[in-house]
Amino acid sequence: MKRLKKSLSLVLLFSLVSIAVVVGGEAAEKVPQAVQVTIRTILAGNKSDEFDPKLKDMEAQLKPLKYRSYRSLKDDGQSVPWQGTKSFDIPGGRTLTVVPQEFQNNRIALKVRLTQGDKPVLDTTVRITNKGNFILGGPPHEGGTLVLSISAAAQ
């Protein structure tokens, strides 16, 4: 009984420490202050067989699009407060506007609008995994097709 009590005391202490460590980590994630939104603008085409080395980390996501070439045009990352609005310049006179809406179950809800000049092209609300991304593609540009990788990470 004495041994059991001693064991249980140590176990309780260990559990409390573990819970503190975990809760501390969880707490840091639970209340994100802003969202780091990154837009990677890629030009996909069939005129060459080039694959930009800068896009190596996205190879698995881009290859299924079945274009022969992929070239990174620009990477743009900005910190956006919740419910705040940030616009990103997209080649071809386009603008991508992003509004982080909420953070729930490790997913970030983003309201995204693509405009051409002042004409809306697409409005969508997407929930992506924290630090994950989705692809928006199709707008033509310079003989190829624009592929936008939109990612978000809670800060």
Binding site: R3, L4, S7, L8, L10, V11, F14, S15, S18, I19, V21, V22, G24, G25, E26, A28, E29, G45, N46, K47, A60, Q61, P64, L65, K66, Y67, R107, A109, L114, K119, P120, V121, L122, D123, T124, T125, V126, R127, I128, T129, K131, G132, N133, F134, I135, L136, G137, G138, P139, P140, G143, G144, T145, A153
Partner: protein, 180 residues
């Protein structure tokens, strides 16, 4: 504390033979002079003798032969394969060990799932993406496709230009839509 209070606390130990000779003598002397403490002693002794008589009387009914026969049968009985395993696991996973194991497992699981808080970017497996959920989509009259690429768990929203633009694109020998 009065002498009675002191003695009252010690009567039990005196009955149990747990006092040293000097303490024992002091308690005895007081009990012989103090009716209340003497009565306390009498009551405790009565409880003890009554309980003993009840249990001794009961145990006298227990015969050795049938008990031994039963014990022997248990010893000689061929145990089912799982009984040995159960007994072994009972011995192995004693209360103190189980008391350790349960919170350790819980803490490990919680820790693994929380590692990302301390090492951002760390994830189980190579891919950290999972399908994005599209709550709403409005292409303002254009055609749009919502696609999911299974291997990389990527959600793709693909905008199709209107027909005029497609014709232009075909002339330029560029593809405006993915092959999938």
């Amino acid at each position: 504390m009065t002498r009675c209070e002191d003695t009252g606390k010690s009567i039990g130990r005196w009955l149990d033979g747990e006092l040293n000779p000097a303490q024992s003598a002091a308690v005895c002397e007081h009990m012989s002079d103090c009716p209340a403490c003497g009565e306390e002693r009498r009551q405790l002794e009565k409880i003890e003798t009554t309980l003993r008589s009840v249990l001794v009387a009961e145990s006298a009914r227990v015969e050795l032969a049938p008990l031994w026969r039963e014990v022997r049968q248990r010893i000689e009985r061929k145990r089912a394969w799982y009984e040995g395993l159960l007994e072994r696991s009972r011995e192995l996973f004693t209360a103190p060990r189980a008391a350790w194991a349960v919170p350790v497992v819980i803490a490990l699981l919680l820790g693994v799932f929380s590692l990302d808080s301390y090492w951002p970017g760390w994830r189980f497996g190579a891919s950290r993406n999972s399908f994005a959920a599209v709550d709403s989509i409005d292409a303002h009259g254009r055609s749009v496709a919502l696609l999911r690429e299974n291997e990389s768990k990527t959600t793709v929203i693909w905008l199709y230009e209107d027909q005029e633009v497609e014709n232009e694109a075909a002339e330029e020998e560029s593809k405006s839509s993915p092959a999938f």
